[in-house]
């Protein structure tokens, strides 16, 4: 009898938890929340960011945002004009509010940046200048500052040392505290060779001694890049942001034309427009709301990823995440729990389930692998067998699971019980002259076909050696995955499960989890081919990976999320790194990418829709004196022309501050189809944008008219 997965025990042995002690599957808990005051908007931040907002008034900075630059120029012009007529309160009031408009925009950006600063400070602490112990050719050591290391240097780190730079372990194994980067206090194992060799500068060796080959220049290390990213220093405008900026600039030009050509028209009509009212009209019409918040939205989007412990190496990747239409998900750890679990005990003919359960439990007590523990748990939960402790059985000799024997068990006197891989157990029974029940093979085959892994349970006692039954080990699909995949499908995203399992097993799990497609017996080349095929069809592909052999695929994918536990090759190749090493997070990354775009679109729509009301406020105020009929457009019944214009300008400034929390938090994202999402967002931000300023301007006008001497 054979099973299709000869080496399943092999995978059991390497399933050693990465974190020591084992802390279970990483959950939705994001340690970043403890470090940064994440998520909610704190009004105090506005005050704290005020100095930065003033610093940003530098025209060389402002010119990067064409819309706000126009407002800045307008503020200077109106202020200068007010000096020529210092007795005119209106000119001063408009100037003041125009300056406030600019400051509010800068404030939004400063607040967004401020949230990253706290985290950057934490990271800087980790980057204290370390002294490295560089290995010389003869085996001697010299002490050099960490900043003087070059690529290829070998350095030694022992317990208590801070690792001086990014590199790969080339010798030894050690537990490393990476909390400075990941925020996760449980140490991780780093060892030479294999997929756990990468170490990051600034992390601390807790035990043992390792030799590290430095792979990154000082100043370009992971931690340096992280600091740049969270501070926004490395921020470059993303493609959609550039396109949106162009559209906003063109709208600004259009309104600039509309306002600049107005004076001759007004002169002809018999009224003179002052510089102050022209600038006020212009500022109200150009899309200042989105212009002011655009960069804050981008920074906050990156920040939301950082709060979830994901580092995006470029903003482009975050945007691409929103466009992804195919997700490649590794089966293990993403779709299923990391380990297979015992699901049932199947007796062979002539045995009872209870007997199998009893023997399986006893033989698994010495098996510390997750699979072994799951057998004990199943025996207790399904068959009421109390978990016995190894000390309870006097004279018992416990045989632990090893990768060589691929079996575990116990010998109590003459009674020997074993459980393990089919091949090993059959060999064990045959060696002892026992027989293998005829139906055992059929049962094992059925389990394999259903996507499970069979383990045989055998016993040798007075009646000789024989197989008692089969343990059905099953991949357990994580809770809620099916719903998650349904959501993704509604969003138009196809999910493909990647697994090393055979097609039969893969199909069974794919069906159970509800993914759209699967790639079985996947090699790195298969993965690469799949990505290229999807991309050739115009689709954007996202994937996660951690091994060196994932690196080419990670680089090819449009969004490649490398696990922080992975190799440095993988981390280099991907365009994001998940510090929690939780592959399920890919789904959240896609949502954050979409949310970023939605927030920009929603505020643009809002900003443009606002113009309608502003026209109804300002046009009658400017011209009703010469063409009384135009007063019919004053549908808000604003109290006076000056008050109408001022109210529109004030509304225009205040709406920026009012929307800062939304810009930072992002528009609420729900996994809906494009149609429903558009209807919803058009309703809220399009219609809302039409109506809100009518109400807002009216209220401000009422308040202004209460000021004596103005109304």
């Amino acid at each position: 009898m054979t099973t299709r997965r000869e080496n399943h025990e092999g995978s059991m042995s390497t399933a050693t938890p990465t974190r020591v002690p084992h802390s279970g599957v990483p959950t939705g808990h994001t340690p970043a929340e403890d470090r940064v005051g994440a998520g909610l908007f704190d009004p105090g931040q506005l005050l704290r960011s005020l100095p930065d907002a003033f610093r940003k008034l530098d025209p060389r900075v402002m010119v990067k945002s064409p819309v706000m630059f126009v407002v800045l120029v307008g503020s200077v012009l109106t202020t200068a004009f007010s000096f020529t007529d210092p007795g005119d309160w209106f000119g001063w009031a408009i100037s003041a509010w125009l300056w406030l408009t600019v400051i509010f925009a800068n404030l939004a950006e400063a607040v967004a940046e401020g949230r990253g600063k706290a985290q950057a400070d934490t990271l800087r602490k980790a980057k204290t200048d370390t002294v490295a112990r560089r290995l010389l050719a003869g085996g001697a050591e010299e002490r050099v500052p960490g900043t003087r290391l070059t690529i290829g240097d070998l350095v030694v780190c022992e317990a208590g040392d801070v690792i001086p730079g990014d590199g790969d372990v080339v010798e030894g194994v050690a537990s490393v505290d990476e909390s400075a980067i990941t925020g996760e206090s449980a140490p991780v194992i780093r060892e030479s060779g294999g997929d756990r060799s990468a170490v990051t500068g600034g992390t601390k060796v807790l035990s043992d001694r390792i030799v590290i080959r430095i792979t990154t220049k000082p100043g370009e290390t992971f931690i340096d890049r992280m600091i740049n990213l969270v501070e926004g220093a490395a921020r470059q405008k993303t493609p959609n942001e550039i396109a949106l900026n162009i559209l906003l600039a063109s709208l600004t030009i259009a309104f600039l034309l509309a306002c600049a050509t107005l004076p001759p028209f007004a002169d002809y009509a018999g009224t003179r427009l002052t510089m102050v009212v022209l600038v006020a009209l212009l500022v109200c019409l150009i899309p200042t709301t989105i212009g002011a918040l655009l960069s804050a939205i981008g920074i906050a989007g990156m920040d939301r990823l950082v709060q979830r412990n994901v580092l995006a190496m470029s903003g482009r990747a975050v945007e691409a995440a929103g466009d992804v239409s195919t997700l490649l998900l590794d089966k293990t750890g993403t779709i299923t729990l990391g380990n297979r679990q015992a699901a049932e005990f199947v007796p062979v003919r002539g045995t009872t389930e209870a007997e199998v359960a009893d023997a399986a439990q006893l033989s698994s007590l010495a098996d510390e692998t997750p699979e072994g523990r799951s057998v004990v748990v199943l025996a207790k939960e399904a068959y009421g067998l109390r978990e016995r402790h190894q000390g309870e059985l006097v004279g018992a000799e416990w045989i632990g699971f090893t990768a060589q024997t691929r079996m575990s068990g116990v010998d109590v006197g003459e009674r020997k019980i074993r459980k393990g891989a089919a091949g090993s157990v059959i060999a064990w029974v045959r060696e002892r002259g026992g027989t293998v029940a005829e139906d055992a093979d059929g049962i094992a085959h059925r389990i394999s076909e259903a996507g499970g892994t069979p383990l045989l349970v055998a016993v040798q006692d007075g009646k000789g050696a024989r197989v008692l039954g089969v343990i059905h080990l099953k991949d357990v699909v994580k809770e809620g995955m099916r719903e998650r995949f349904d959501e993704l499908r509604r969003m138009g995203i196809k999910t493909v499960m990647i697994t090393g399992d055979n097609p039969l097993t893969a199909k069974a799990i794919a069906e159970e989890a509800g993914v759209d497609d699967f790639l079985a017996e996947a090699t790195p080349e298969d993965k690469m081919a799949l990505i290229k095929r999807e991309q050739a069809g115009g689709k954007l592909v996202a994937m996660t990976g951690d091994g060196t052999n994932d690196a080419p695929a990670l680089a090819q994918a449009d969004v490649g999320v490398a696990m922080n536990t992975g190799t440095s090759a993988a981390k280099e190749a991907g365009n994001m790194v998940d510090l929690d090493s939780n592959p399920t997070k890919l789904i959240e990354i896609v949502e954050i990418g979409k949310q970023l775009l939605i927030t920009r679109g929603a505020l643009t729509t809002f900003s443009i829709a606002n113009d309608v009301a502003k026209y109804f406020a300002i046009i009658p105020a400017l011209f009703a004196a010469v063409y009384p009929g135009l007063d019919k457009l004053n549908i808000m019944q604003l109290s006076s022309p000056d008050s109408a214009i001022l109210s529109a300008v004030i509304f225009n400034a205040l709406i920026i501050i009012a929307l800062v929390p939304l810009a930072l938090r992002g528009v609420r994202y729900r996994p809906l189809s494009a149609d429903r999402m558009l209807r919803r967002n058009l309703g809220i931000y399009g219609l809302g944008g039409l109506i809100a300023p009518f109400i807002g301007i009216k209220i401000i006008d009422l308040l202004i008219s209460l000021i004596p001497g103005i109304g």
């Binding site: 493609p239 959609n240 949106l244 559209l247 600039a249 063109s250 709208l251 030009i253 259009a254 309104f255 034309l257 509309a258 306002c259 050509t261 107005l262 004076p263 001759p264 028209f265 007004a266 002169d267 002809y268 009509a269 929103g322 239409s325 499908r489 969003m491 138009g492 995203i493 196809k494 069809g537 115009g538 979409k594 949310q595 775009l597 939605i598 920009r600 679109g601 643009t604 729509t605 443009i608 829709a609 113009d611 309608v612 026209y615 046009i619 011209f623 063409y627 009384p628 009929g629 135009l630 019919k632 189809s673 494009a674 149609d675 999402m677 558009l678 967002n681 058009l682 931000y685 399009g686």
Partner: protein, 553 residues
């Protein structure tokens, strides 16, 4: 029958006829521009002009073809007018002065047909038929060709090739415009329109005195004038003249000709991009705006108060009694929402708000349904802008018909929508600011301003209708409107063709449930809103000082 009911019935009859023609004509045009066969007469033409119709052109080559052909057209037409005095069949009219000759040449080559002359007092048979009528055909064919190139940009992928300009130009003329115009001319002749080469007649007037009029190939020019959304009348009174537009039936038939190609092109677009539903969505957007404008204009013209107006059943000043208020409103909207510019009533005499509606129709960029070809490409540019904003709102990089709308596409679309507002506003402002140009106004106050605003709106958008009142035959207006027409026609075409090239080079993005559905009514609604807000609002201050100030008084 009440005038309102008559208007509504004519609207329904028109829509019924257009609906019948939509599918066959649209599908036929898609086939014309996709086929690889050449008719014998087309081969002769290709041989004559030395073009190879089978080479594919990139956008730059296509653009060179458009510009070279149009430049040759302007030059030829200019020289023809300048030499009129020495040409046979000039009816004794002298050569046209340089400024007016330039203005008229620019006007007919750009499919604008702005006329600062009165046809029956300035242009003889030679210029009318060999110059103006020819441009009526080919300028329309150029417009359709550019639209087809843009549609190919959507339909093709991973190539920069947009088809062959000469083939598109010749086919549009030979297979689409000439046959339909020929049938239409026969219909017009049958209904009483003029078609001869007779000289000048002097006839006695009913009220005493005498009047001179001449014959000409009127019906044939009238047919293509409407069909190619040209609008340049043989006579000064344009389609209000009984020789051009003899009966209420021909009046209805003329709107049909104006609207049939621009509307059916949406079908050709749908067929060529492989989804007729996308064509319906664009059609629905055009029809929504058009019907809305018709309803508004009928309302302003019927609901106007005052005893004289009520006695007449509406605001009759400047309107032909043969057609009445309803048909005049239909014509006014159809001519300004397309780039036609033919008129059967005087827009200056519409109510203040009514005049504003005709202006706003042009200001929206003449895209509902717009000029032949130019309406479709203008609407597709607006669709790109709307898709960009809405696409962001569904959380994806915006895409339209499987093509991503990135920064290059947005840059080109944004440049496109800036051109005409810039021309209209800058030329109007200059005219108002300079000392002499305002003297051309007939009226003072808001209405006088409307005359100037209307002139540049009409020229820059290649409409060609005049508000009436403004004396546009001055060096200033001839030169500036000529420039406005040329820039308003060809600068946007540069952006359209560049955009087409950029789209054709892209790899298509497959549609998923996460893709914005641009064939749904929701998108049509969004597009209408985007057009009204984005283009309409730019002109709001100017409109407020003209038609709104007058209409709300």
């Amino acid at each position: 029958m009440s005038p309102v009911l008559a208007g509504v019935l004519q609207l329904l009859a028109l829509m019924g006829a257009l609906a019948l023609a939509y599918v066959p004509l649209g599908t036929y045009m898609a086939r014309v521009y996709s086929s690889d066969k050449h008719l014998r007469v087309e081969r002769w033409i290709y041989k004559g002009i030395g073009a190879n119709p089978d080479t594919e052109m990139r956008w730059t080559a296509y653009l060179r073809g458009v510009l070279a052909f149009s430049a040759a057209g302007v030059l030829f037409l200019y020289l023809l007018q300048r030499m009129q005095g020495g040409l046979p069949g000039s009816l004794g009219f002298s050569s046209i002065e340089p400024a007016q000759a330039f203005d008229t040449a620019a006007s007919f080559v750009t499919n604008t047909n702005w006329q600062s002359y009165a046809g029956e007092q300035a242009m003889g048979h030679a210029v009318q038929t060999a110059g103006l009528a020819v441009q009526n055909f080919v300028s329309a064919a150029v417009g359709i060709a550019v639209a087809v190139a843009l549609v190919r940009g959507f339909a093709r992928s991973r190539t920069g090739e947009l088809g062959n300009f000469w083939a598109d130009l010749v086919r549009g003329t030979v297979r689409v415009l000439v046959p339909i115009a020929a049938v239409a001319a026969v219909v017009l002749v049958a209904c009483g329109a003029l078609q001869n080469f007779s000289g000048i007649h002097e006839v006695g007037q009913f009220m005493g005195g005498s009047q001179q009029w001449n014959g000409g190939a009127v019906a044939s020019q009238e047919a293509i004038k409407e069909l190619g959304t040209n609008g340049g009348g043989y006579f000064n009174a344009n389609s209000a003249h009984p020789f051009e537009n003899p009966t209420p039936f021909t009046n209805l038939f003329e709107f049909f000709l104006i609207l049939v190609i621009p509307l059916a092109l949406t079908r050709a677009f749908g067929v060529m991009v492989g989804s007729v539903k996308q064509g319906y969505a664009i059609l629905a957007t055009m029809v929504t705006i058009w019907v809305g404008f018709v309803a508004l204009l009928m309302w302003t013209e019927f609901a106007h108060h005052g005893p004289a107006l009520q006695a007449a059943g509406g605001a009759m000043e400047g309107k032909e009694t043969r057609f009445g208020v309803g048909a005049s409103a239909l014509f006014g909207v159809s001519t300004t929402l397309t780039s036609t510019g033919a008129v059967d009533s005087f827009h200056s005499s519409f109510t203040g708000l009514g005049g504003g509606i005709t202006m706003l129709g042009m200001m929206l960029g003449e895209i509902a349904p717009g000029g032949v070809g130019s309406g479709l490409y203008g609407m597709l540019i607006m669709a790109i802008i709307a898709v960009f904003i809405a696409g962001l709102m569904v959380g994806r990089t915006p895409e339209y018909l499987g093509k991503k709308i990135g920064s290059r596409e947005i840059k080109l679309a944004a440049c496109y929508i800036l051109v005409t507002p810039a021309l209209v506003l800058i030329f109007t402002a200059a005219s108002m600011a300079l000392p002499t140009p305002p003297h051309s106004m007939l009226n003072s106050g808001a209405h006088g301003f409307s005359e100037v605003l209307y002139a540049f709106t009409s020229a820059s958008n290649n409409n060609g209708s005049a508000f009436a009142g403004l004396n546009a035959n001055t060096d200033w207006y001839n030169t500036t409107t000529g420039l406005a027409m040329l820039l308003g026609r060809f600068v946007p075409m540069v952006f359209v063709l560049a955009l087409a090239g950029s789209l054709a080079g892209q790899r298509p993005v497959p549609a998923t449930a996460g893709t914005l559905r641009t064939e749904k009514p929701l998108f049509t609604g969004l597009l209408v809103g985007a057009i009204l807000i984005i283009t309409g609002l730019t002109y709001f201050p100017a409109l407020a000082l003209g038609p709104l100030a007058e209409g709300l008084a």
